[in-house]
Amino acid sequence: MADLTTNFLGIKSPNPFWLASAPPTDKEYNVRRAYDAGWGGVVWKTLGSEGPPVVNVNGPRYGAIYGADRRLLGLNNIELITDRPLEVNLEEMTRVKKDYPDHALIASIMVPCDEASWKAILPRVADTGADGIELNFGCPHGMSERGMGAAVGQVPEYIQMVTEWCKQYYDRPVIVKLTPNITDVRKPARAAKAGGADAVSLINTISSITNVNLDTMSPEPSIDGKGSHGGYCGPAVKPIALNMVAEIARDPETYGLPISGIGGVTTWRDAAEFLSLGAGNVQVCTAAMTYGFKVVQEMISGLSQWMDEKGYTSVDQVVGRAVPNVTDWQYLNLNYVAKAKIDQDACIKCGRCYIACEDTSHQAIWMKEGRVFEVNDAECVACNLCVDVCPVEGCITMERMEAGTTDPRTGKVVSDDYANWTTHPNNPGATAAE
């Protein structure tokens, strides 16, 4: 059976599934339950400076986006960092770490952007025995308006500066958590690296308004008739997070920088995808908040089974495996020709592929007598929309055309030579193929 234990920055955990800094990790009670349920690590809910803690709203903190059957696809929150006193959190962390020495415990920190504040809190965090710290430079609401969270994360120079302070006053691993609310995620990642960060974690939540209450004309979650943008997370943000992880993983300037992948991890498969794109482990929040801590058991069994099936014996062997296959559009092989193929035995004759293609794409699917749907190869550009809208898994597939056959759409013989846009005759800037 595959070994799921991970060693991330020298921090060992029984598996790569950590709980992200968020409501599920705000208290000793929750964290103990999480470890007992099987979570490999926990990033404690973000600590603030000594003194009166922040306050949260006393109305709804979350908004949601649903798929069919009210399945939660996206969650938005306007909660702040921990609203419990620093001392209480530190005491609890100390007790928990003592009782769970083999599980990862990370302290998430967000204090004002001055050296004294960081210098003050870091020794106290070190005293808890926590395995490392995560700098919360991502929170997009409430704290950013006070010059913290995303307000730091959006300025690479600040990231580097604070990271340097942390490396100076703290001797365990420093993870910099990045905000997605920027244009190019490689810039803050490079800054973190320049500051000496041991790793980056991403993504934090995305600025969002999930819904508007059409009776009161107030954004949701609504507090006394008003709403504020909050941080969006859950399955809906996974594609955004995967791309940002991959961008950092394949950036020559940050190549090899350890990454903790966050953003919509809901199943073992999501986790494996993050690992393959360069994440050394994953952090989860929304799935736990939706289904409870037990959900990790499916992640563990699923990842383990898949690794066994693929012959991977350790998580390290998976990490980054898909990174070499992430490229820029201009390098995609334009000689790769595929056609949609509909499995008539699997087809349930709903006609969604047909109408999607007919109304919105290339008119490449015929609807024949008896609701038989067939692809017209002479029109099919292999766009994949039919595959995406088909309700039956595996019913429609994209089949590559063999080299030497003729594409009935273009009349051209399919070549197995690789050729991309950079050398394409239609490209004004093309360089002649050698």
Binding site: R70, I348, K349, C350, G351
Partner: protein, 445 residues
């Protein structure tokens, strides 16, 4: 309770009051709002949906289900009612298992269709409970039309005509409108007086005057109607019943299932209705099943349906057959009645097994006897009192196109007219289409 299921002969009050209440409650409880959302989420919004094609009234089912799932059941109801003004009743009585739900792609995919019938009921009930009638009449045309029969076909026709701005006189032989919805469907399919409430709701369109106790032939003549109105629609259904043509048919305890059902539907207190200890229902259609199941629900100890052909030939759907079986009705196939025996009152039914061959159905000579205090005949209804001069084909009024009879200015639809299955939903479609045709011919466009 003085009697029990074991009381000999035909007797009322065989059950406790709470048993009657439970037995005649809704066959399928309505979906609540949550259940409706869950059920609606299963619809794939198919292109050119098979369910829509299977519906005799062509309701845009994917659209109305999407309207439910987005929180607008009232809009869903309007989508339904635009095509089928009796969408509320059809949601209750349609054999969806052989229509829309049979062809649902999720039936193909998972053997479990989207619950279209129950979703339709959810939508229409939502709107009707609000007392909203979502249609308004067009400007008055001043044209008057006679509609004979206030059953599904007549009601549908009258509503559509009224909506077009015409004035309609709607005649029915019975004391109430609704036709078979009011008199001929099992009580547990339309509880709480829904049939009557639906007629009242439909009449809110205005422009329709209901005249009850007026039968064609006795109180009305086609000639007079033709003279007094600019068009006539005949939708009086099938008032006659077939004879059993078996010895002893005249004995006490032998009656028509349609009368048994009508009496039950109009009874204020079902416990007062007498039912046999041993009931035999002869026939294989929905009427047979409705009569048999309700006999059991009234407390009959033994109820048997005797059908002369095989199970596969039975007009009642498999769902209805299973419903009967689940209520304790015994289904006997390939058997036909020979004689009813008894001294004045029926005591037993003698039957003979049958076999289908190239020459049709014939008896095998093997007979058996079933105890029978009560024999209910459900062997089909016939057209009664068809007006002179209107062509008849196969026992029904011959029609072409959208219900045009052989007589100019006279249309027909529903069970009395040829073409289509004898279903509520088919009658609604025919009444609606005839109304459109009448409107076109009267307004020249």
């Amino acid at each position: 309770m003085t009697n029990s299921p074991f009381t000999p002969g035909i007797a009322p009050g065989r059950l406790r009051p709470e048993d009657y209440a439970a037995n005649f409650d809704d066959l399928h409880a309505p979906l609540d709002a949550h259940e409706a959302l869950v059920a609606a989420d299963r619809c794939y919004f198919c292109h050119d949906a098979p369910c829509m094609t299977a519906c005799p009234t062509s309701i845009d089912i994917p659209l109305f289900i999407r309207q439910i799932s987005t929180g607008t059941p009232e809009a869903a109801a309007k989508t339904i009612l635009e095509q089928n003004i009796l969408g509320g009743m059809c949601a209750r009585v349609c054999p969806t298992e052989t229509l829309c739900e049979e062809v649902c792609v999720r039936e193909e995919a998972e053997g479990k269709p989207v619950e279209i019938g129950r979703l339709q009921r959810y939508a229409t009930d939502t709107l009707m409970t609000q007392g909203v009638h979502p249609f308004a009449r067009a400007d008055a045309t001043g044209k008057r039309i006679a509609v004979v029969g206030a059953g599904p076909a007549g009601l549908s026709c009258a509503h559509r005509l009224a909506m077009k701005g015409h004035d309609v006189d709607l005649f029915d032989a019975r004391p109430k409108g609704g036709g078979l919805n009011e008199y001929g469907i099992a009580a547990y399919k339309t509880v709480n007086g829904f049939a009557g409430a639906e007629v009242d709701w439909l009449m809110q369109i205005g422009g329709i005057t209901l005249h009850t106790g007026k039968a064609l032939g006795a109180d009305l003549s086609l000639d007079a109607l033709k003279a007094g109105y600019e068009a006539v629609f005949l939708g009086m259904g099938l008032a006659g019943v077939n004879a059993l043509r078996a010895e002893g048919e005249d004995k006490d305890g032998v009656s028509d299932a349609v009368d048994f059902i009508a009496t039950l539907r109009q009874a204020g207190d079902v416990s007062s209705l007498p039912v046999g200890r041993n009931v035999v229902v002869i026939g294989g259609g929905m009427t047979a099943v409705d009569a048999a199941v309700q006999s059991r629900l009234l407390g009959a100890e033994n109820v048997t349906i005797l059908y002369r052909r095989s199970r596969d030939d039975m007009p009642a759907s498999r769902f209805e057959q299973d419903l009967a079986a689940s209520k304790g009705v015994r289904l006997v196939f390939n058997a036909r009645p020979v004689r009813v025996t008894g001294n004045g009152a029926a005591q037993a039914l003698e039957a003979e097994y049958t076999v289908s061959g190239p020459d049709g159905l014939k008896g095998t000579g093997e007979t058996f006897t079933i105890p029978a205090d009560q024999v209910l005949k459900a062997i089909g209804q016939t057209l009664q009192g068809a007006p002179d001069g209107v062509s008849i084909e196969g026992g029904k009024i011959a029609v072409t196109g959208a219900g045009r009879t052989s007589v100019a200015g006279v249309w027909a639809g529903g069970d009395c007219a040829g073409g289509g299955d004898d279903l509520t939903v088919t009658a609604v479609a025919e009444g609606r289409d005839a109304a459109e045709d009448i409107h076109t011919s009267l307004t020249g466009g």
